[in-house]
C-alpha cells in the first residue's frame, strides 16, 4: 500500500487519544475482475497486503501458487513487477504485471480469527468452564 501522506497535521497527531488500527478487507476466496490495467494494479496491491497465498494464472496458462511479498508499480505493466515465494521453491521469484492474466485469493487469510478480541472471548469462555493452562497454539506448519 502506498503511503497516505498529509492526512494528519502535527497538532492532530499530538492530540490523538486513540488511533484507529489498520483495517483489512475480507479477501479470502476473492477473484478480482481484471478488466483493465487499473483493476490489475489494484488487485495486486491487495495481494501484496494479503496475509495468505494467492494463485496467479499467467497469460501462458501456467498457474502459480504464491505468497506475494513485494511489488513495484512502474509506468507500464512491463515496468511493474511482483516478487513472491512459492510453497516449493526456496528462492524469491519475480513476475511482471504484463504476464498476469488472472488472480485468485485462494490461500487462507492467516490473520483471520486471531484478533485480540477473539482471544479475550475464548479465554473468558475457557476460564468460565474451569479449564487450566489456557493457551493459543501456533498453526501447524505441515
Amino acid at each position: 500500500m502506498t503511503a497516505e501522506v498529509l492526512k494528519y497535521t502535527m497538532q492532530q497527531v499530538e492530540d490523538l487519544e486513540l488511533a484507529p488500527a489498520a483495517q483489512h478487507e475480507k479477501l479470502e476466496g476473492w477473484v478480482p475482475d481484471l478488466v483493465g490495467e487499473e483493476d490489475l494494479r489494484q488487485a495486486l496491491e491487495k495481494a501484496f497486503d494479503y496475509r495468505g497465498d494467492v494463485t496467479v494464472t499467467l497469460k501462458s496458462g501456467e498457474r502459480i501458487e504464491a505468497f506475494i511479498f513485494n511489488r513495484r508499480s512502474g509506468a507500464t505493466l512491463i515496468d511493474s513487477y511482483v516478487q513472491y515465494y512459492t510453497p516449493t521453491a526456496p528462492e524469491k521469484r519475480k513476475l511482471t504485471y504484463a504476464e498476469i492474466a488472472r488472480l485468485e485469493f485462494t490461500g487462507k487469510d492467516r490473520a483471520e480469527g486471531k484478533h485480540w478480541e477473539d482471544w479475550v472471548k475464548k479465554y473468558n469462555e475457557k476460564k468460565a468452564a474451569g479449564e487450566k493452562n489456557i493457551a493459543l497454539v501456533p498453526d501447524a506448519l505441515d
Binding site: 492530540d15 515465494y85 524469491k92 485480540w116 479465554y123 501456533p138
Partner: protein, 372 residues
C-alpha cells in the same frame, strides 16, 4: 542507564564519526529477523501471520553476516519470530560477536533455559526477554498460561550463568501504571541489567484491532509510569527517549536508524511498516521516499507511533551528537523525575489497590495530562 560503558563508547564514537563525515542517514541498530516462526501465538501479533511455507523459511548465517556487514550498524537486534527456534542461531550469534556487534537476542524465553549451555557469556550478547508485566498480565498478553514462569526461570538461569539480560515490555491501551511499576520492582529483583519498554503499535499485517493509544494517551501513561522513579530501576534505553515518551521532548522519527532485514529483503521504510522490499541496503536508503513517513509527514500509518525503533535512534543521535544532548543524557541517568502531578495520576488510577487484568477488565480511567 544500564548500558555498559564499552557499548556506549562504541555507539558514541560511531555517531560522532558519522557526524564529522557528514553522513545524513545511517543505521544504529540492524533489526535482523532470521525467521518469522514462533512458539507462541499471541493474538494480534503483526509478525507471524504468514503461510506455513513462509514460516519454515529462515536466513542462513551467511545471509545474516552479509546484511550486518552491508549496513555497518554497531548494534544488532535479533527479533522474529522466536530466534531460539532457528537451528543455527548459535552460529549466527557467535559470528556477530566475532564481528564485535552488540547483539540483543529478543526471545520469549520458552526455550532459553534449555539452550543456554550452547551460548557463551559475552559483553556483546544480551538476551532481551519479552515480559509484558507480572504473571497474570504477561500470560494473558502472550496467550499462554504458565509462560511467565518459564520465562522467569530462563532469566534467572541466564543471570546465574553470567549473561547480560534485559526484559522487553510493550504496553497497550488500558495498562495500569501501578502494575507496571510493581513489575519493574519484580524484574530488577531478578538481577537483570535493565528494562526495555515501548508503547504498542498497530502493525499493518496484524489481525485487526479496534484501537491503539494515540500520542496524548501514551504521554500520560508513560509520565505516570516513569516519573518518581525508584533508584533500583535501570533502563537499557536512552534517557532522552524515555523523556520523549513522557512528553518532555519532541522528536521526529529516524526510520533508517533501525533498518530491518529478513527473508524478503530490506524492508521499506522501517521495522514496523511493510511498504515493500529492496535487495540491498544501499537501495533501501537511496530509493525510499523518506519524506512520506514519520509523524511530520502526516502519514496516518505513522500517527500513533512512538516506538523505540523509530524514535530511540533520534534520541541516541542527539545524546551522542551534541553537548546539550549529552548533558541531558547524563542528567536523565541520575534523575528520579520527581513529579507531584504524576504521583496523583498514579493514585487516581488505582484508588482501591492493584487493578484487574487490564484486557478483561473495563479500561482504566482516563489519566489527566500534566501541564508541564
Amino acid at each position: 542507564m544500564a548500558v555498559p560503558i564499552s557499548q556506549m563508547w562504541t555507539v558514541a564514537t560511531y555517531v560522532l564519526k558519522k557526524k564529522f563525515t557528514g553522513e545524513k542517514r545511517y543505521p544504529l541498530v540492524l533489526m535482523l529477523e532470521p525467521l518469522f516462526r514462533c512458539n507462541l501465538a499471541c493474538a494480534g501479533c503483526g509478525k507471524v501471520q504468514y503461510p506455513p511455507h513462509i514460516l519454515k523459511k529462515q536466513l542462513s548465517p551467511e545471509e545474516c553476516f552479509a546484511a550486518v556487514e552491508e549496513c555497518g550498524a554497531p548494534m544488532v537486534s535479533l527479533p522474529g519470530g522466536e530466534p531460539l527456534l532457528h537451528a543455527q542461531i548459535v552460529e549466527i550469534v557467535n559470528g556477530l560477536i566475532a564481528r564485535k556487534k552488540y547483539i540483543y537476542l529478543c526471545t520469549n524465553a520458552l526455550e532459553l533455559k534449555r539452550r543456554l549451555p550452547e551460548f557463551t557469556p559475552s559483553k556483546y550478547l544480551t538476551f532481551s526477554v519479552h515480559l509484558d508485566g507480572m504473571r497474570d498480565h504477561h500470560d494473558f498478553s502472550v496467550c499462554r498460561e504458565g509462560g511467565y514462569d518459564i520465562a522467569v526461570e530462563g532469566i534467572k538461569e541466564a543471570v546465574k550463568r553470567g549473561f547480560r539480560v534485559t526484559t522487553n515490555a510493550t504496553f497497550f491501551d488500558g495498562t495500569d501504571p501501578n502494575g507496571v511499576r510493581g513489575f519493574f520492582d519484580e524484574v530488577m529483583d531478578m538481577g537483570v541489567e535493565g528494562i526495555v519498554l515501548s508503547p504498542g503499535y498497530s502493525y499493518d499485517k496484524a489481525p485487526d484491532q479496534t484501537k491503539f493509544m494515540g500520542r496524548a494517551r501514551v504521554r500520560r501513561l508513560f509520565r505516570a509510569i516513569l516519573s518518581n522513579r525508584k533508584p533500583t530501576w535501570k533502563f537499557n534505553m536512552s534517557p532522552l527517549f524515555l523523556e520523549f515518551l513522557m512528553g518532555d521532548r519532541k522528536y521526529e522519527c529516524t526510520p533508517w536508524g533501525s533498518p530491518a532485514f529478513n527473508i524478503f529483503g530490506w524492508q521499506k521504510p522501517c521495522y514496523l511498516l511493510q511498504d515493500g522490499y529492496t535487495e540491498t541496503y544501499k537501495e533501501l536508503i537511496e530509493t525510499t521516499k523518506w519524506e512520506d513517513y514519520g509523524v511530520a509527514s502526516g502519514n496516518a500509518k505513522c500517527a500513533n507511533c512512538m516506538v523505540s525503533c523509530g524514535y530511540e535512534p533520534t534520541a541516541v543521535i542527539e545524546g551522542f551528537g551534541s553537548l546539550k544532548g549529552f548533558w541531558g543524557m547524563v542528567r536523565g541517568t541520575f534523575s528520579s523525575y520527581k513529579d507531584a502531578h504524576a504521583l496523583k495520576l498514579l493514585n487516581d488510577s488505582a484508588p482501591h489497590g492493584p487493578a484487574k487484568l487490564v484486557q478483561i477488565a473495563e479500561p482504566a480511567q482516563s489519566l489527566v495530562e500534566s501541564g508541564r
